[in-house]
């Protein structure tokens, strides 16, 4: 018992030391007191290590656990430390800078009402609903993910991180280790991407290694796919479907919007005829495409046969994902068109005219002026389209394929596990994995494209 206790202490101490070193370096660079930095850093690092481990009771490092559980424990600690150090860094910047944050700056006391009870009364309905129906279930998702729990019985069994590590199929242990290190390297490189000097040798090196490690990552993911583990396949399906939806919907909508934004006759009518599918629900999109791509009575095969083809089996593994992509792009297109039209109307005319005078042709003007000027909108649309492809796609899939034919995405798997198989713990664990992905993608988006987008001239 003593040995596990001391392991726990060491596991908490190492992040605290790392945090302290990081903050000493940070504070020395900013000419602040290194001692205060060491205290803040050690505190943040230690809390970061404990934030996941204390609720879990350090169960991942018990001697009878598999090595993969220990790896997962280290992974959780890393995430906790990263998050806490980030929070501590912005908090210390906030405190040392005195006042910052545009949020506070433009709030003056002019015109405010008196009374301390009134604002709380006004806010209480919102706060109560958010606490009950968002915060409590969010906490419960974390708790459930460590349990073997079923609806209908109140008895639960604590299973540590088994619900997560089972996803990683313990028999492919070497593969897990390699994947784990590649992801760790990637995270490290991604964090280095924030280097101030974008053109330094280091920055270029990091950018190159990011591309290389991405290639490796995909190589190993494909390998994992070949080694036939079911959860990887769900993840890969999710990624490939959402990538296809985002790319097709953005390219097509930009093309259409480029035609529709100019002041042409009947522009408003065209615009209305182009954007209305946004209001169609994902299930209805699924139903309509289910009938169109039906093997027996669907119009798609009729047209293909009329043109001299054979007709396809729309339920097989190559065609089923395609029908999902088509239905989703059709439904999501209107939203992107609407925003691209608005964005194109805001591209300064004088800039385009100046470039035309300089001899830039239509294509050059489009690529070098229009697309960069649209980047904030593209950024916004990528995030909304990804969240569509991750979550709202559930209704489309449920009606169109029912998750068969290689269209079983993560949100569908969560529903299947939790409701149909009544395994709440595994389902909650997969919800958290999806949550991490969403947060990670959004974060990477902000880090990579977010900095480079042009916010107006």
């Amino acid at each position: 018992m003593i040995s596990t206790e001391s392991t726990n202490i060491i596991i908490t101490l190492i992040p605290a030391i790392i945090g302290a070193i990081y903050f000493i370096a940070l504070f020395m660079r900013l000419n602040r007191s290194p001692i205060i930095g060491a205290i803040i850093g050690a505190g943040a690092g230690g809390i970061g290590a404990m934030v996941f481990m204390v609720p879990l009771g350090y169960c991942t490092f018990e001697p009878e656990r598999k090595p993969i559980d220990a790896y997962f424990g280290i992974f959780l600690i890393t995430i906790g430390v990263f998050v806490m150090l980030g929070i501590a860094r912005s908090a210390s910047n906030f405190l040392f800078a005195g006042r910052s944050g545009s949020l506070i700056a433009h709030q003056s006391s002019a015109g405010t009402f008196k009374g301390w009870l009134m604002p709380w009364l006004l806010l209480s309905p919102t706060l109560i609903i958010l606490a009950l129906f968002l915060y409590y279930p969010a906490m419960d998702t974390f708790r459930l993910s460590t349990l073997l729990a079923r609806l209908g019985t109140s008895r639960t069994i604590f299973v540590c991180v088994d619900n997560f590590t089972r996803l990683l199929q313990p028999e492919n242990f070497t593969l897990q280790t390699v994947l784990f290190f590649i992801i760790a390297i990637q995270l490290f490189i991604a964090s280095q991407n924030t280097l101030k000097d974008k053109d330094s040798v280091w920055a270029q090196f990091f950018r190159l290694s990011l591309i290389l490690s991405n290639l490796f990552f995909f190589f190993f993911v494909v390998l994992a796919l070949l080694l036939n583990s079911s959860y990887y396949r769900v993840v890969i399906t999710t990624f490939s479907l959402s990538t296809a939806i985002v790319i097709f919907s953005l390219i097509i909508s930009l093309g259409i919007a480029y035609m529709a934004y100019q002041p042409i006759r009947g522009g408003n009518i065209y615009r209305t005829l182009l954007i209305w599918p946004y209001a169609i629900s994902p299930p209805v999109a699924g139903i309509i495409f289910f009938i169109i791509f039906n093997n027996t009575g669907g119009v798609a095969n009729h047209i293909i046969r009329f043109l001299g083809g054979d007709g396809f089996d729309w339920k097989d593994t190559t065609m089923a994902p395609l029908t999902i992509i088509l239905a989703s792009v059709w439904k999501a297109l209107g939203f992107s068109i609407l925003f691209y039209i608005a964005g194109l109307q805001n591209v300064p005319k004088d800039l385009l005219e100046a470039a035309a005078i300089d001899g830039a042709n239509v294509w050059q003007r489009f690529v070098r002026i229009t697309i960069p000027m649209l980047s904030p909108i593209t950024f916004f649309l990528i995030i909304t389209n990804i969240s569509y492809a991750f979550f709202d796609i559930f209704g489309t899939i449920d009606f169109l394929t029912g998750g068969s034919g290689g269209t079983n995405v993560m949100i569908y798997e969560i529903y299947n596990l939790g409701i149909r198989n009544n395994d709440l713990g595994k389902s909650a664990a997969q919800s958290l994995v999806l949550f991490m992905l969403v947060v990670g993608i959004t974060y990477l988006q902000f880090r990579t494209t977010g900095r480079r987008v042009s916010y107006g001239a």
């Binding site: 009402f113 609903i129 309509i288 059709w330 979550f391």
Partner: protein, 301 residues
């Protein structure tokens, strides 16, 4: 953008030479071919975007044999399909439920967002930024991710399974709405509230007599976004209100059309899909300007 403007300045020496030949050329180019080209592309785009709906409408007038034989003219089975959708499968009841739910949630969300926006902009109280963070961070927590725990909480712990409040209440509060009105109110000159206070108005009078009358555009923006969102909800109603038409919404009700006979009946299914899409599409088309502005406000800053 900066490096590009440098190029413009550097190259402006041969500006005059290009200009003379370009003005005549661009005049011709601008008048005829470019516009003509755009019209063709837009026609094709409108056709492909409209095709699924046209086809759905066509099928909803046909019986199964006509659909399978690819008949391109409308059939005469619309009345029969209507009968089977509205009478046999009771889709009308689902539609009424959806209308009630969408209206109540939209109104409720708008009112709660107005109240919290008022609290954040027109009051100073300790802990304001913590509370604002508490509300804003829920943008990162989509209901879909918490669906299992939420289901467990509402159906087991509250025992609300199949009730109306289980469908409506979890969606009444909105971080987006709060943020939208906060941004909107923050841009209203403070003289307005100072003047109202001098006239002796209390905060609620100020909200209803002064703020709401000048905020209809923003209210419309939130309302249209929320109406379409609530109308199109599927996963949550599917879980929490299983079976029966009593408290179920139309999106889930469409599932009952999948099994009208032993095999699929195309006509009723498509008719149901078209009927279920009409309210949000009409609302969205009528309020597209407000819809855009709502997103524009939340996106900036």
């Amino acid at each position: 953008m900066t490096h590009f403007s440098h190029e413009i300045i550097q190259d402006s020496s041969d500006m005059n030479r290009v200009m003379t030949s370009d003005t005549t050329k661009s005049l011709i180019r601008r008048l005829i071919p470019q516009r003509w080209y755009a019209h063709v592309v837009l026609w094709i785009a409108c056709f492909f975007i409209g095709f699924p709906l046209f086809y759905a409408m066509l099928v909803s007038t046909q019986n199964n044999a006509q659909t399978i034989n690819f008949q391109v003219i409308p059939g005469e089975s619309l009345e029969r399909n209507w009968q089977s959708v509205m009478v046999d499968r009771n889709l009308g009841r689902y539609m009424v439920n959806s209308v009630i739910l969408a209206v109540i949630v939209t109104v409720g969300k708008t009112v709660l967002s107005l109240l919290s926006g008022l609290a954040f902009v027109y009051f100073r109280f300790p802990g304001k930024w913590v509370v604002f963070g508490f509300v804003l961070i829920t943008v990162m927590m989509p209901t879909e991710l918490l669906i299992i725990a939420l289901f467990r909480f509402v159906s087991i712990q509250l025992d609300w399974g199949g009730t109306f409040q289980a469908l409506a209440l979890p969606f009444m509060a909105s971080a987006t709405g709060t943020f939208l009105f906060r941004q909107h109110f923050a841009n209203i000159p403070s003289e307005l509230s100072e003047a109202s206070q001098m006239d002796g108005a209390n905060p609620l009078q100020f909200l209803f007599r002064v703020l709401i009358p000048i905020s209809w555009n923003t209210i419309g923006a939130l309302a249209v976004i929320q109406f379409v969102y609530v109308w199109n909800m599927y996963l949550w109603p599917l879980l929490i209100a299983p079976g029966g038409a009593d408290n179920q919404v139309v999106q889930v009700g469409l599932r009952s059309l999948l099994s009208v006979d032993t095999s699929i009946s195309y006509g009723p299914l498509m008719l149901g899909a078209v009927i279920a899409s009409l309210p949000p599409v009409i609302v969205f088309i009528l309020l597209q300007k407000q819809f855009m502005s709502g997103f524009a406000i939340t996106r900036d800053k």
